[in-house]
């Protein structure tokens, strides 16, 4: 038997007192194997000197809890639990800082734009702004106004079919069109000076000329000026 095989036997048995006779005799004769055996026994004795650690008394109970937890899958981790990991917390803080910085930049930009707009408005306000045109409902049915002095001819009801554009505060058309049977029409106008009848050569309603008239007609132009709806 070779030294290698004797050493394997020594390794397996470990206890030099329990070696088979052949190996024991070999140890007495072979210095290499004898040294191997002595070193091995000494090393094992040293390694096992401190004894074995044992499992704690609550090992089984802890294991039972752990297995129960494995059996019942855990609920999905909440946001706070997710952030409990330090790296995630840092990542979250960085993302928040990034979003906050972005919001600040946008807010700053918008504030600058607002200041610029305000300046523009202030500049514009130095000139009284022209009120926007608003659409007024069609003026109601015309009262025949039989009592109005100076009104002659056949009166009839006339309903405007077109909306009238006017500006707030301006004079407002109250009534329209009493056909005098001539080429003129009478319009009831009411403004701060009170109500009165105005004769016009053609019927004009609001800003829209119902009856086309020549642009050169001075009377129409003056009427437009007076009745700037």
């Amino acid at each position: 038997m070779t030294c290698s095989k004797h050493q394997r036997i020594i390794d397996d048995i470990g206890d030099l007192d329990r070696l088979p006779p052949e190996s024991a005799r070999h140890l007495d004769a072979c210095r290499t194997c004898s040294e191997f055996a002595r070193n091995l026994v000494a090393l094992r004795a040293l390694l096992n000197e401190q004894g074995r650690v044992t499992a704690p008394s609550d090992f089984d109970a802890r294991l039972a809890r752990r297995i129960r937890d494995v059996r019942t899958p855990a609920a999905p981790a909440g946001v706070l639990e997710w952030f409990a990991v330090p790296q995630r917390m840092l990542a979250g803080a960085a993302a928040f800082a990034l979003v906050a910085a972005g919001a600040f930049v946008v807010a700053t930009y918008q504030a600058g734009s607002h200041v610029q707009d305000s300046g523009q408005v202030a500049t514009n306000r130095s000139v009284p702004p022209r009120e926007p045109l608003v659409e007024q409902p069609a003026v109601a049915t015309i009262d025949p106004t039989p009592d109005l002095p100076g009104v002659t001819g056949t009166s009839h009801n006339n309903t405007l079919s077109h909306p009238v554009l006017s500006r707030p505060g301006n004079r407002r058309l109250q009534g329209v069109s009493r056909n005098t049977g001539q080429d003129e029409a009478m319009i009831l106008v009411q403004d701060s000076a009170g109500a009165r009848i105005v004769n016009v050569p053609r019927v004009l309603v609001g800003a829209e000329r119902i009856v086309p008239v020549p642009e050169s007609d001075a009377s129409v132009a003056s009427l437009d000026d007076r009745m700037a709806f």
């Binding site: 397996d12 090393l43 390694l47 499992a55 090992f59 089984d60 802890r62 294991l63 494995v70």
Partner: protein, 215 residues
């Protein structure tokens, strides 16, 4: 009660397994069928050897308990996939050794520095930081404590591949064949690693071994 009912009742009441006399394979088979008592017996048989093995690998008792428990959890959850081609002992030690090796590698990545190794000696190796104990220790107890610390530190200093083989062989007393099966290596490789580990330990612990010249 008709014949069918009696038969069903007989089938339902299985003869209880004598867990203490049962082999590991029988226990695992019973546990796979839902026998909790059989699984408890498996735990009872292996809890201390596995805890001790992991402790000697990591030199951390609390972590050893944690990983030993994780080993049993993995056995429990994968018991349906267990194949009885080799011994259950090999199977459970393989799980435990894999967990321990994973932990060792994690520690390497984290570069965990023990309070006992923050100071380096003249040879560059960490030396133990030993805070003074105010109590008066008997000399024997102090020497024993020093030996224990030195042995654990020497084992912990071994490369993981040597450490695992050595602990399985010289502390857990597994055969070369079992170790080869646990580590999925050839017996020759196992023997080589164990010899290498022993030589390294002899270099580190020679002064503590019987017959060594006094340092």
């Amino acid at each position: 009660m008709g014949y069918a009912d009696v038969y069903q009742a007989q089938v339902a009441v299985k003869p209880s397994l004598n867990v203490e006399a049962a082999s590991d394979h029988e226990l695992v088979a019973a546990a796979r069928d839902g026998d909790e008592i059989a699984f408890q017996e498996v735990v009872r048989r292996y809890r201390t050897p596995i805890t001790n093995f992991v402790y000697r690998m990591l030199n951390d008792y609390e972590l050893a308990i944690d990983l030993a428990q994780e080993t049993f959890v993995r056995v429990y959850t994968s018991i349906g996939r267990y194949e009885a081609n080799f011994s259950f002992s090999t199977y459970i030690y393989r799980i435990a050794s894999n967990l321990a090796i994973t932990e060792i590698r994690k520690r390497k990545r984290r570069r965990v520095v023990s309070l006992f190794s923050v100071f380096a000696g003249d040879d560059g190796q960490p030396v133990e930081m030993d805070p003074p104990d105010q109590r008066q220790l008997p000399e024997d107890a102090m020497l024993e404590r020093e030996r224990k610390v030195a042995v654990n530190k020497a084992i912990a200093s071994l490369p993981e591949k040597y450490r695992t083989a050595l602990v399985l062989r010289d502390i857990e007393d597994h055969s070369y064949e079992e170790i080869a099966s646990i580590l999925k290596l050839s017996e020759g490789t196992v023997k080589s690693r164990i010899n290498r580990a022993r030589n390294l330990l002899r270099e580190k612990l020679g002064h503590l071994m019987p017959g060594a010249p006094a340092s």
